[in-house]
């Protein structure tokens, strides 16, 4: 239970991504396979906080070339 709570807390810290330079925070930003949603803002909307989720593509397991 304690471990789970710690993991959730760590996850929240890691996923709270500070982003600056927005006059108004965008609701969503994306990068590659990552989608970040706005969870809060500060300093009149110039500092935005996002929670990010990596949407992993469902690809075949990586294989070392040369094997078969």
């Amino acid at each position: 239970m304690k471990k789970t709570l710690m993991s959730i807390a760590l996850g929240l810290v890691l996923s709270a991504v500070p982003v600056t330079a927005f006059a108004v925070c965008a609701d969503l930003i994306t990068s590659g396979t990552t989608v970040c949603t706005l969870i809060g803002s500060a300093n009149g909307g110039t500092i935005c906080f996002y929670s990010c989720t990596t949407v992993k593509p469902d690809n075949p397991a990586p294989e070392t070339p040369g094997q078969n």
């Binding site: 330079a21 609701d27 949603t37 078969n68």
Partner: protein
């Protein structure tokens, strides 16, 4: 007693030996037939250049992808549109520059410029994000390490999709030992089908047009992370000659995985054996 054993065992042993030999011969002949189909396709694809003289490519392409994403608000459509330039120095050096923008649920999110360099096992990745006004978004990417792995996988997957029908050599991506499985009908055309199962358990099937000998369809089938079987089909069309090679300029991929979605790649230009600058594949530390 010995004579009785000899009489009963000898025909049985001979029968088993004949069965094994027959099975081996059939298996060998299916493998040889698959090699013949690949060789013929290579001869047709490589019109005025020998496959062994191909050392690399520089390709510009557009890619659009539509998938479904759920990040806590239910499934929404995620559409990305990118223009990429991919340089490949065979066998294991890649440099790709991607300009892309995306919408989720019909709303523009941001644009992105990404550069990925792969040199053997070394990977470099740099991403810059821009808002709808073109202002650079300064951000800290907590997932940068994982994202580099995903990017490497994405670059190799794109390279396989684009270059495999040209070179018909998969060894930079996965080693495959094909056998002939028969003929099939595909869009009113008769196609020869060859198949291989990789060490990782993914089944690859190639469908070659019997008349033109060109690759029309590549299917992959594997067990996904969720345990569900995933089927992916890549249709190759609009073959045009470039520098002595017949190159499929349109690749449409359909997947049963919602997160993989459907993609379309359109080749805009391709150079064979392009001259790369000395630092093209240098991985910055």
């Amino acid at each position: 007693m010995k004579t009785i054993y000899q009489h009963t065992l000898l025909p049985f042993v001979l029968f088993v030996v004949i069965l094994i030999t027959y099975g081996q011969t059939t298996s060998d002949s299916k493998r040889i037939k698959a090699q013949d189909i690949l060789r013929k396709a290579k001869e047709i694809s490589c019109k005025t250049i020998k496959p062994e003289d191909i050392k690399g490519f520089s390709v510009s392409y557009g890619k659009s992808k539509t998938s479904l994403v759920d990040f806590g608000k239910g499934e929404q459509e995620w559409v990305t549109s990118e223009n990429s330039k991919l340089n490949w120095s065979m066998p294991d050096k890649f440099n790709v520059e991607i300009d892309s923008e995306g919408t989720i649920g019909g709303n523009f999110t941001n644009s992105e410029q990404t550069k990925v360099i792969i040199n053997g096992n070394d990977v470099y990745k740099n991403t810059e994000l821009f808002d709808k006004e073109g202002q650079k978004i300064t951000y800290f990417d907590a997932n940068s390490l994982n994202d580099s792995k995903e990017r490497k996988s994405g670059v190799l997957s794109d390279a396989f999709d684009i270059f495999f029908p040209i070179t018909l050599d998969s060894t930079f991506y996965v080693s495959l030992d094909f056998t002939y499985t028969g003929t099939a009908e595909l869009e009113n055309k008769k196609v020869n089908v060859i198949e291989a199962i990789s060490k990782g358990g993914t089944t690859y099937r190639l469908f070659f047009d019997e008349k033109t000998h060109l690759l029309s369809l590549l299917t992959k089938s594997w067990k996904g992370a969720s345990g569900k079987q995933i089927e992916q089909k890549s249709f190759y069309s609009n073959y045009k000659e470039v520098s002595g090679l017949l190159v499929a300029h349109k690749i449409v991929t359909q997947s049963t995985s919602k997160t993989n979605g459907n993609t379309e790649i359109i080749i805009k230009s391709l150079k064979v054996n392009a001259d790369f600058k000395s630092d093209t594949f240098k991985v910055k530390k």
